[in-house]
Symmetry: C2
DNA sequence: ATGAAAGCGCTAACAG
DNA sequence: CTGTTAGCGCTTTCAT
């Protein structure tokens, strides 16, 4: 098929020297005479010789490819992460293979396996919302595949991780609501199987505590494994139907924030004012014209860069060298629009 | 490094047969005795043998990988396309390598070259906004690399393409504005080097014509190669500053629509009503609470699926078989929110 | 029904 | 300084 590709042999034949000499000349090996080097380089240039990366991979058992398992590409945050990964990987000479789990555990297992079979040099993982069993990841890690988690990390595996400071972000967001005068703040939680969601709950609780507000477990609703607008709307309705209804909502995802916002407007309530909303997310909410929602913005691009960097560092470490797992914690940014500061 | 991976040789040694027999047994070759097959399969299973895909690639000069050149992953539309590509590719046993041009011509050239060097079996391309020279793509196509364009296609290369019916979408959107009573509709155009933007302009003009409205070239502003909010805002200001200012805006991108919307609100004008806006885009505008903008929604996921399908069909065609290039035209959907229908 | 050998493209030890 | 040889893991004639 692509048999028309120039190989080292072609150059050797043309110049009537051996393939090894060509190979050496091309890598500027000191043994080769300047004259030969020049000839080889010029011919290679002329024929537009491109080394066959597959042959290289087979020999070196290195593919210069990193695999990325991502829950949902369409999510603005995650696409931003990919962008960051690409940025660093590309600069370091690596290709990026993307596998999307679509928040499905089963799919995640298949993806990691497929990436491994594709002989990626290392793997970047953010777990699906469904994942509670870590065998598929543990087995890869045990086999020595360089692995770095980002955002949705697995606590029980001892490798490098890049996370957002969820506790702090959640604390700041809650504090912001309190400072705006809200007193009964509901929390639309995510699945507790993911550390980040537990930490956000903790940050929320701590902020209430520090400001002398009670923690009302009735105001803490979980949206479980799913992440859909409909559910968020239902939960919001539940909250609005309470006798002593909340005056603010802390949403753990953009979808949840959106669902809450829509529902509350249907009740004819004003945001902010009647109800305050903080959304832990970072899609384009921040750019909206009606910036009723304060957003905890997550540094996706930096997260991708950092994760790729840690992974490549590990991949390229000498065999005998021990790399200490490292956990990077990135700060969030609270994006407050002027119009949302009032009550 | 990964020398602990089981190979065919290991199985052969263990069973005291030759590697070729193992290979054949694994592929259920009719020559091999049932007994041997059983032994081999069981041992392979037990040792968790996984064929080395690189060795396979080297032999077959097929990588089962497709390369995707995409302008901007973060853009909702494009991330949706990737999702569609992944969906089909994965099901057909292909991996997906993503390269992001970031709307840069230079980067696009490097990306296509890098993908080619990575020996992808085929390539899916959507051109950057900057691209006006097609040599890098033509050369790949000439060399016989299966190639399919999606969304931002290159007219001068004769291969399969998947596009949105931009003319029709634009026509419908403009018609919609006209039917709402708007009469002076501005057009924020994209770079005419990309066919889609030219077609959208045509659709817009045709709709005006069909409804007996004049085409005012002063109302057609181009935002050139860039796609930033600031520029869109400036152009909108220009429009608003006109003595005989437009009463509606047709924006070619989400960013442009957003910029226009913000600017117009700054002027204290109501949308819709004072000014109507139609955005040719499909990010989450459609989900907003204040759905002032009518959106021409593009079928990203289907586009990805379709493109991947066409490409894989071509990749897997027999060497002698001639595949006729095919162009798929997907329909857009006009998403009209109730509140935007009034004037 | 099975094995031996060659080769995909490249590199690196080992000879000169 | 350069060539010969072997081998990465796999498949596939060609023998037997």
């Amino acid at each position: 098929m692509k048999s028309n590709q120039i190989t080292i042999k072609d150059i050797a034949r043309e110049l009537d020297i051996s393939p090894s000499t060509v190979s050496r000349a091309l890598k500027d090996h000191p043994d080769i005479s300047p004259k030969t080097k020049k000839q080889v380089r010029e011919l290679a240039e002329k024929l537009n010789y491109q080394p066959n990366s597959i042959a290289l991979s087979l020999r070196s058992s290195k593919t210069n490819t990193i695999g990325v398992v991502i829950p949902q590409i369409e999510h603005f945050f995650f696409s931003t992460v990919i962008s960051g990964i690409e940025d660093v990987a590309y600069a370091a000479g690596y290709s990026v293979i993307v596998a999307q789990s679509n928040e499905s555990y089963e799919r995640e297992v298949m993806d990691t396996q497929a990436l491994f079979n594709n002989r990626v040099d290392g793997i970047l993982v953010s777990m699906s919302r469904e994942t509670t069993d870590y065998k598929h990841l543990e087995s890869l890690h045990t086999r020595g595949i360089p692995m770095v988690f980002y955002d949705r990390v697995c606590d029980s595996i001892n490798c490098s991780k890049v996370v957002v400071d969820d506790f702090d972000g959640s604390y700041q967001a809650t504090k912001h609501l309190i400072e705006q005068g809200y007193k009964r703040i509901a929390h639309l939680a995510g699945p507790y199987s993911l550390t980040m969601f537990r930490q956000r709950l903790e940050g929320y609780k701590k902020a209430l505590e520090d400001h002398g507000l009670p923690i009302d477990e009735n105001l803490i609703l979980q949206e479980n494994a799913s992440n859909d607008e409909t559910l968020a709307k239902e939960l919001t309705k539940e909250l609005m139907a309470m006798k002593n209804r909340p005056d603010a909502i802390f949403a753990n995802t953009d979808i949840a924030a959106l669902g809450a916002m829509i529902t509350i407007k249907e009740y004819g309530l004003k945001i902010p004012g009647d109800i305050g909303i903080v959304g832990f997310s970072n899609w384009r909410f921040t750019a909206l014209t009606e910036p009723t929602i304060t957003t905890v913005s997550q540094p996706g691009f930096e997260m991708g860069q950092e994760a790729a960097h840690l992974l490549i560092r590990e991949i390229e470490a000498k065999k005998d060298q021990v790399i200490e797992p490292e956990t990077k914690i990135l700060k969030t940014e609270l994006v407050v629009r002027k119009s949302s500061v009032l009550k």
